[in-house]
């Protein structure tokens, strides 16, 4: 069985950044594995711009962003396998994979970085009533058809959900000559970034209906129309507030789910809120030497943050394989308090924090003029004033190594106050 220092599962932005950083930090034999025919992951179907503003200080398309990392990976002579599906990973880090040229292959790695990303919620995941005609796509699938494979998905389109991909596809299909009739969002606020509401919907006069959802799909072979209902504050349709929209295509942009079948197979602990592995400050999961980064851990809104997080995973995986096994004190656990859905990382080992550690979190609803308060017991560690917070934008708080020393009961809580 061939042995590697580090195996990286997934060749999207997370896997690329992690593999590159691991190699740069002294890991010798790094292998990256991806199931698609090329590296870059979903970035390769993101022809729109808005990537790289934090990492490169310039605005790139998804494809341009991917190309910079792919080039660097190749320059560093990092080995990669494409068109290869990983079937199983054991706690001993034996990886079973299959592809057309080699058949079934087992390798062993000293550390593994999980970077499988996420997948889209489908019609089945949200249970829309109605018939089951063709013409219903998740937004990302439609994006792949239009931007890579050259198939137009439809001419008269309704979009459910105001996630970023849905809004980006509203613009994309409009530019390609389709009529996007409406974007319906069940929540009282839009899911995606403000930039996309303005540049993808308002620029093209596409109406956004908040507090609305689809209650019926009509059509035998191809979709013919949908019934959109206004919903109350509990997201229940209001009787009589219905409107029928004729359409030949329905796109769903109703959320993303981290893809963790492999993680479950290894036995890493998952966070029920994020759907991703529980990780510490080094992006290491609850299984020694198994790291995770990017959307497989929690769904990010900017790829730049995925890159940062994945570099951290790559660095730490490299130091793990070179490593002297060190003893660490009990970790501090991070606890989401009032108004916070989740916090990543879940654990912080103080001895591993050199200068500071960043906590990433999402709030559970819109807040204006509030504070994010980091506390340990009754001791306040940090307060940040926030004019505006919403679930669609990830919040980030940096905690210095110095202030971690004031944590006494091994727990940090973040509250909205």
């Amino acid at each position: 069985m061939k042995e590697y220092d580090i195996a990286v599962i997934g060749g999207g932005p997370a896997g690329l950044a992690a593999a590159i950083e691991a190699k740069k930090h002294g890991a010798e034999a790094v292998l990256l594995i991806d199931r698609d025919k090329e590296l870059g992951g979903i970035l390769q179907q993101c022809v729109h711009s808005g990537f790289g503003l934090h990492i490169f200080r310039e605005e790139l398309t998804g494809t341009e962003y991917a190309e910079r990392f792919i080039k660097e990976l190749k320059e560093l002579r990092i080995e990669y396998k494409l068109d290869t599906m990983v079937l199983n990973i054991t706690e001993e880090k034996v990886i079973s994979m299959v592809n057309k040229t080699e058949g079934l292959v087992n390798i062993k790695a000293r550390a593994v970085i999980l970077a499988m990303g996420c997948r889209e919620r489908t019609r089945g995941a949200i249970n829309i009533p109605g018939t089951r005609p063709s013409g219903i796509f998740t937004a990302g699938t439609a994006q792949r058809f239009v931007n890579k494979e050259g198939y137009m998905v439809g001419r008269n389109v309704v979009i459910l959900g105001s996630g970023d991909i849905g809004m980006i596809m509203a613009r994309r299909l409009t530019l390609e000559g389709a009529r996007v009739r409406v974007v319906a969002e069940a929540l009282p606020y839009p899911g995606g970034l403000v930039r996309n509401i303005v540049q993808c919907l308002e620029d093209y006069d596409i109406p956004l209906l908040l507090n609305h959802t689809i209650v019926d799909i009509k059509g035998k072979d191809r979709i013919e129309g949908v019934t959109i209902a206004e919903v109350d504050e509990n997201r229940k349709p209001i009787a009589g507030r219905l409107q029928y929209y004729e359409c030949d295509t329905l796109l769903l942009s109703v959320g993303l789910i981290p893809e963790n079948e492999l993680s479950k197979g290894i036995g890493v602990k998952l966070d029920p809120i994020t759907g991703g592995p529980v990780v510490n400050e080094s992006m290491e999961t609850t299984v020694n030497g198994i790291f995770a980064c990017g959307n497989v851990v929690h769904v990010h809104d900017l790829v730049d943050y995925v890159t940062e997080e994945s570099r951290k995973a790559g660095r730490n995986a490299a130091s793990f394989v070179k490593g002297k096994a060190a003893e660490y004190g009990l970790p501090i656990s991070t606890k989401p308090g009032n108004g916070i859905r989740y916090i990543v990382p879940h654990f912080i080992r103080q001895d591993k924090v050199e200068h500071s550690v960043d906590l990433f979190m999402r709030v559970d609803k819109i807040f204006t003029n509030k504070k994010l308060v980091v506390k340990s017991g009754d001791t306040v560690i940090r307060i940040i004033n926030k004019a505006y917070m919403r679930p669609g934008e990830m919040e980030r708080i940096s905690i210095t190594a110095e202030s971690l020393k004031t944590v006494d009961n091994l727990s940090l809580t973040v509250d909205v106050e």
Binding site: Q44, V47, T63, V194, D203
Partner: protein
């Protein structure tokens, strides 16, 4: 003078800003509703000359990939987006193509080139 309502995209707050022509102001405009100063320049540009980077794809021959992603190398006026698409939709290219290759020069005399946004 131009005036209008602009949603700011500089930060996630998305202030709704009102822009009014005003001779008394140094900038020629008064901006209201912005919570910080970063929105002012953006708001004025949005009512006087709104521009965007246009991104799309063109038909790609002789490759597994059927569409080549392209973009304008500088922002083009917002009201020309659909006209630019008509020009872009007429183009077919053959591989190999390097990132940054000019696909359409000076599209609709905007001064912007349409360039390839990946290598195939």
């Amino acid at each position: 003078m131009e005036k209008g309502i602009v949603t700011c995209t500089i930060c996630p707050i998305g202030c709704s800003m009102e822009v009014i022509g005003a001779r008394s102001s140094d900038l020629g405009y008064l901006v209201k509703g912005n919570r910080c100063n970063r929105g002012i320049e953006y708001a004025i540009a949005e009512v006087t000359n709104p521009t965007r980077i246009l991104t799309s794809t063109v038909r790609l021959n002789n490759a597994n990939l059927r569409r080549l992603p392209v973009r304008t190398d500088k922002p083009v006026p917002k009201n020309l987006m659909l006209d630019c698409m008509k020009v872009i939709n007429l183009v077919e290219v053959d591989t190999p193509i390097a990132l940054g290759t000019i696909i359409i020069e000076d599209i609709l005399s905007t001064g912007a080139n349409v360039i390839s946004s990946r290598t195939v």
